[in-house]
Amino acid sequence: MLKKGERRIGINLPSGNVPYVKAQSTFSVVKDAFAPTLKRMQNEADQTAAANYFNDFQIKTRDQFENFRNQFEMDPEGMKEAVDTYSKTLLDSVPAAYKIQANAMLASYSQNSVMFASRNKRTFDDNKLFADRYELWKQTNSEAEFGMRNFNEEKIDIAIPGINKQFTDGLLKINELGHDDFKNLVNTQKLKEKDHLINIQNQTEALIISRGFHIMKTLSNAKDEAQALNWLHNFMNDKDDYDADIPEGIDENNPIIQLARRIYRDDDDRMRMGNEILKKFKGYHREAIYGKSKKPNISISALQEPFNVLDIGEYKGGDKNIDEVLSKIPGLEIGSEKYEKVVRIVNDNNRIQQIVSKTMQDEKTVYDFDNEEDKAKWADAILANNGIRKVQYSDLGSDSFQTAVNIFAAQDYFPEQLRNHLKISDANSYTDEGSLESFQKKALMYQYLSNDELFPNVDYDPLYQKAIDLDVLEMIANKDFSSATATMKSIANENYDLKLQNITTQFADDNKTFDFMFMANVKTPNAFLKFFQNGKDDMHKHLFAPGDQTTWLSYDVNKIMPPNAKMEMQSMFLEEMAKITTGDNPDIWSSNNANLRNRAWNKTMRRMKDTGYGIEINTIDGKPKLVKHPYWHTYGALDDNDIYAAVKQDFMTTSDKVSKYNTTKWEEVEGHLRRYFDDKNDYVKISVDRNNYKDENGRHSYKLSMHIGDEFITLDDNFKPAGWVNLVDKQVPATNQQVILHTTNQIYKNFDKTWGKLLPENKKHWSKRAIYSIIKNGIKLSDYRMYPDFPGVDDVPAEIRPFAFMARVVGFKGDLREIQSDLRLAAETANNNLSYQKKINANRNLSDTEKVIESLVPPEKTVMTDNAMNIGYKQWALDNYQNTELRLTHRTNNWTAVSSADWDGELDVNYKRDSRHFAVFANPKDSIRAAVRTIINHSALTNSINDVRKDYGSEPTFDQIFKMYAEDNESYLRALEKHTTFDRNDTVNLMNHNSMFKLLKFIVQHEMGREYYIEKFGGNNPYVDATISRGINEAFSSYNGELGKL
């Protein structure tokens, strides 16, 4: 088969272009992916910019509009022109995008300003109108009264028609003015018609009252008071004996006449006016008889005088009720400045007297006073309690004076009163009988006070001892005044300098006696034992360098005290010796004078202790010296890092570096410092010298100097180490949580100022929150100095470590010591605030419960509310004591369910329950006080105080207490064992605040019913705790320190 030619190939249409795809880079793809974010960010940026612009715009324009408002305050037209011109000019310069909004704002401002000006103008006009009108009305009334008063002294037949004439004239005047008001004010809607009518009625009433008063006054003057009162009686019964006639030519239907009639006819109105007339008449009458009453003038200082109501001596026991005190000061206005002062004084007196009780109860424990003022008040209170208002010789023999002085001695406090009393003039002035006798009395007082049991080491005037040694007192007693004067003169003529010189010469270089005395007095016996008890002789602080304070090394004290310092101490000893001896050259080392030497030694020690001597090792020449208040007494050992930071800061802030540091390069100064840090004996020395003034925290202030060979540089700022704890700051918030927040805020604020710039501007940025929470958590751990310190590793001081850590977090790369002042600020803030909490914890005078309560409710924060609270409680009991929906002990403030027995703070309501007189208290703390007293009165602690039957000793079991306390003691014991961890045979220490607190809290809960108590107060209510605690304290104090004494 043959194949024919067949077409195999057709024409193809051109195929496949390469499709066009828009070229797009990866960056562009990413950009597109982020388009929504970018758009949002752009929007935000736009909005922020707009907000910033308008903020700025607003501030600028606001100031300008404010100017206009001042300038055109009452000139609406001027205002309009000014704001229009200003707005137009301003709008021209506003960017187009903001024009609409700016225009709207300006329009609104302009409109407001114009409205402001017109409103002001209108108000001003109206005010003027009303002021004029007020004046007019007032004048009308005054004129009428004046007219009537003129007739008071006239005879009745002239006076009464005269007064009536004035009255009707007054009425017509009211009519006239009322008409004007209606036309000018009511018609123009400036005054409501109702107000207008009220005004007319009031004016008419006032006129009727004036008429009545003047009629009474006239009657009283012309006849007597009874006549006047009779007239008023009739007047009130709608029978006016001297009715006023309508003046001629006046229509009877005149609206004002009608109104006056209507008011008079209305029983209520007439009664009211009658009473007003009587009131005015009484006022006149009293004034005429007694003169004007005066507001009583209360002098607080007079009230504080001995035996007056605010005298501290009247507050023995420290539980004086404030209401009682206030009731004794009549005329004291509640809430006035004086009132607050009185409340404060009462609180203070109570508090001080409670301290007195505490110190009397436990004489051996030295009380830790908050401040010197309290201590002085405490001393005054003790003297006042013993009836001593001013120390006198005559007190010397009295028991009370001796008691007081013994208490002072136990607390190692020599009161200012005694010191002042013992001040004498110099020996030359005793030339007459009177002054010699007075000297004798004081010398006897000195003799008594300076005995070893009381105050042997006080710096008394040496004249006393010398006079006693030379028998001056006997001479005075024997009336041999001329010999006494001669002896006193010889003492005065004694050459102290010569004597000191002689005594110093006597002191051999190698004085074995002195060394022996020194050793014997300073060496610590049983040093090893003491070391483990962490005990230390308190003189070590003054005699040894900071590095030698470890007690158990002091067995060879001579070698420990730096020779220089020892020399200075020796000369102080010699000075004391010279003061107490007589004659030009006393043989002080004779064996007979051992007692004298001991006394001089003790006085030297006392002087060192009282004036704060101590050894300063940072001195110009590097040799330790004895100085007053050395740096380490105030701030502890000197730290190299602190020196570095302080010098660096000073260097950086000094403008003229060359003249001060002789260089502009920090490296050179740093080099010197390194020499000092590496070897303290090298040519560079650092000295710290005390200034003569104290710093803002009441601490000694110091200057730091750097000595390089002969050159020396003193830093400008006072030197203070980083992170030192200030324990006197009381201006801290009330709760721990607040302390933490407050501290965090303060630190964060400072942190933001310096390091904040490294963080994004956004206020809510996560990094800022993170830093904030680091700070907060750091503080929350209560001791932020938890960062370990590795000995020998040169790191930043422990106090600032957490903050240094934060600086690192935000990117600080340099030497941390260079930013120490920033870090120090943070540490100081934390320190200052946390110290309050610390102080509370460290205070040995507070029981555990008190510590918790004190830290929540510091006393100084509650002084003023205390009184308010008392009033609240009292009112509560008075309102509710019969409200049986509340539990008995709750509604009566008698939380411990004691029977009435005229307890302190008991309200006199005579409330009987189940045949028993149930006490109702002004404050629940009084109930606690009563219960504690009941419990203590039945114990052996009060053997010498009262005759109450004694059921147990000072540490009874719960069983014993409840047997005495409650009729149904079984229910008590069952509840005790069910709800607490105590057993009926557990004992309670009655003198221990903590034990008593637990007992009382249980009693309160039990008496109120546990469930009811929890419903009302919750399981742990700090307020209830505070109340119980106060009750216990007041009960303890009420025994005035006599508990358990024989």
Partner: protein, 146 residues
Amino acid sequence: MSADPVTMFVITAVSTAYDIKESKKQAKAEAARYEEQKKQARLAAADEEARRKREYYATLASNKASQAGSGFTLDSRSFLNIQQDVTDTFQKDIASIRVNVGSQVSQLGFAQDVAASQRRKEQFGGWASIASAGVEYKAKKDLYDA
């Protein structure tokens, strides 16, 4: 990062500049691709021609063999006519192939020109948009600073 005008301008400008660069790269790649396609079209046409030629010769030979087997004389008119038909068809096919390839190549050339022109537009547009963004963000910056 904040979305201030300067930053935003930088982002836009950088992104557009990269787009331009990408567009240039794309244009180059496109041109190469079109050239390749033209080459491929020509090669395919040559292949097709060769295949058609083989077929043609095979047909001619097969016809000759059939003719010899069936007794046709070699100068038989009808046989020669058939052979001529085969040749004619073959020639037409070859012409078609050549027309096809010519048309495809010119189409590709045209498309290539269009694409290149589009890319040029794209690049110019890019530069123009950078300039316009500059103006826009400058205005915004002024507004922000106002």
